[in-house]
């Protein structure tokens, strides 16, 4: 994989610096880190569940098996539910949703 800079072309400077949305730009960057990590966590989680399913059904797995794996309808439904629950738990922070009634 090429780093983004070389894909974009080093002579092609952006017209504007990256946009900042928070009062402290540190928050923009931290949130970027959180999202990168979160996505990675999901990728890993998805992969692990896929492996579990494959182990169950085949007993022996290869890397190509994992990449080619497509869940059946019920597994896909379970994965979608799990993914939705995970993304919901993460995104709830954005609207500062309380988990318990405040005193």
């Amino acid at each position: 994989m090429q780093p983004l800079d070389s894909i974009a072309g080093s002579t092609r400077a952006p017209l504007q610096p990256e946009q900042v949305f928070f009062n402290d730009p540190a928050i923009d960057r931290l949130l970027g880190m959180i999202m990168t990590l979160s996505a990675e966590v999901w990728v890993l989680s998805d992969r692990m569940k896929s492996i579990e399913q494959l182990l169950d059904s085949k007993g022996v797995i290869t890397r190509a098996d994992i990449d080619a794996y497509q869940p059946d309808a019920s597994t896909a439904q379970a994965l979608a539910k799990d993914r939705s629950s995970f993304s919901g738990a993460l995104m709830d922070h954005v609207i500062s949703r309380q988990q318990s009634r405040g005193a």
Binding site: I7, R12, Q19, M35, W42, V43, F86, M91, V94, S96
Partner: protein, 357 residues
């Protein structure tokens, strides 16, 4: 794609889930907070905002808006970039995809102009945050085609809106010889040649990589009455009066204001007397300052700087100045129920401009 990659699929689905949350939870919450702020201001004797700048003053500094804005920009960035973004995914299969693109050399339906110089506005920034833009890499058409599948995440089948628009055009204009301006990779063109196979159809775009994908898809579909040509929609070079219908989908907001004026004049020139131009784009009425604020700032966040100017000009008057005799500006329901007053999720302000010569 030739080689499956479950990690890519899982990542992209995660980003999409977050976008759905943003559309259905964060945006409505922001709107609720705005409405509360307006009520509070009213109780203190302050008038409600009447324009986007005043909305910005009211909610632009709130924590929720800052998160809202960050996620809008960065979920789009995540779609294209990063370890499992669209750019590295397509890059990994460059050789196979280039070979596929080379099949267009023998397609008579496609006419490219390799020496064509694109307008400066078109190449000076990365539209939609697409690295290098929609014409800056030979694979850009494939990347754009994939990216567009999640532009409207709440519509289950994203082609629904194109089907709906096609039905509107077919019923309003009954075309027999039509030109689709800014066709991109052909998503807007496809339902026309599919639903009306005898339609003599020309589709133009500036982007050669997108036109190649459009031509490949049309060839695979068995469409024989459509031709694709690399032309500037504001200066197509086709004969005056040679079409009875001119369409565009999500094009007007992509062009600079001087270019937009020329594009409307070109649409008029291309039409025969009695012909119809139908453009589908994004317009927010002036009496909806919150939605204008959301839309204008969306344009900035997504590298689409002409969203705001398109809304600030009088598009109907622009058409009348070009010579059109009747102009209608009509809200467009891109999926069932999206124009209902109680629809709270984020959506584009889809609008049709129908102009008759």
């Amino acid at each position: 794609m030739k080689n499956p990659d479950r990690r890519f699929d899982a990542y992209q689905q995660f980003v999409l889930d977050c976008k759905v949350y943003w559309s259905t939870q964060v945006y409505p919450e922001l709107q609720t907070q705005y409405e509360r702020a307006v009520s509070t201001a009213a109780r203190e004797g302050n008038p409600a905002p009447t324009n986007p700048r005043e909305v910005q003053q009211l909610i632009g500094g709130t924590t929720l808006y800052q998160f809202y804005a960050w996620y809008e920009r960065h979920l789009q960035r995540m779609k294209y970039s990063g370890r499992f973004g669209l750019i590295p995914r397509f890059e990994a299969e460059r050789d196979t995809l280039e070979a596929k693109l080379s099949e267009t050399d023998r397609l008579e339906q496609l006419r490219l102009k390799p020496d064509m110089e694109a307008p400066k506005y078109y190449t000076s920034f990365d539209v939609h945050q697409h690295p290098k833009g929609v014409a800056g890499d030979s694979l850009a058409g494939f990347v754009y085609e994939q990216a567009s599948r999640t532009t409207t995440p709440l519509i289950k089948r994203d082609r629904d809106l194109h089907d709906r628009f096609t039905n509107e055009v077919l019923s309003r204009a009954n075309p027999s010889k039509m030109i689709d301006l800014g066709c991109g990779f052909g998503k807007s063109t496809r339902p026309f040649y599919r639903d009306k196979p005898d339609l003599e159809l020309t589709a133009v775009d500036l982007s050669a990589p997108c036109l190649k994908v459009a031509a490949l898809n049309a060839h695979d579909d068995g469409a024989r009455t459509v031709r694709f040509a690399q032309r500037d929609a504001a200066d197509t070079g086709f004969e005056s009066g040679s079409f009875d219908t001119v369409t565009s989908t999500m094009l007007l907001h992509e062009v600079s204001p001087p270019h937009l004026e020329r594009l409307v004049q070109e649409s008029y020139r291309l039409l025969a007397d009695g012909g119809t131009a139908v453009h589908l784009d994004f317009l927010v009425p002036e009496d909806q300052p919150f939605k204008r604020f959301i839309h204008y700032t969306h344009g900035r966040r997504n590298n689409e700087p002409f969203m705001e100017p398109l809304n600030e000009i009088d598009i109907a008057e622009l058409h009348r100045r070009a010579g059109f005799r009747e102009v209608e500006v009509i809200p467009f329901e891109e999926a069932a129920g999206t124009l209902a007053p109680d629809y709270r999720a984020w959506r584009f302000p889809w609008t049709m401009i129908v102009a008759r010569k």
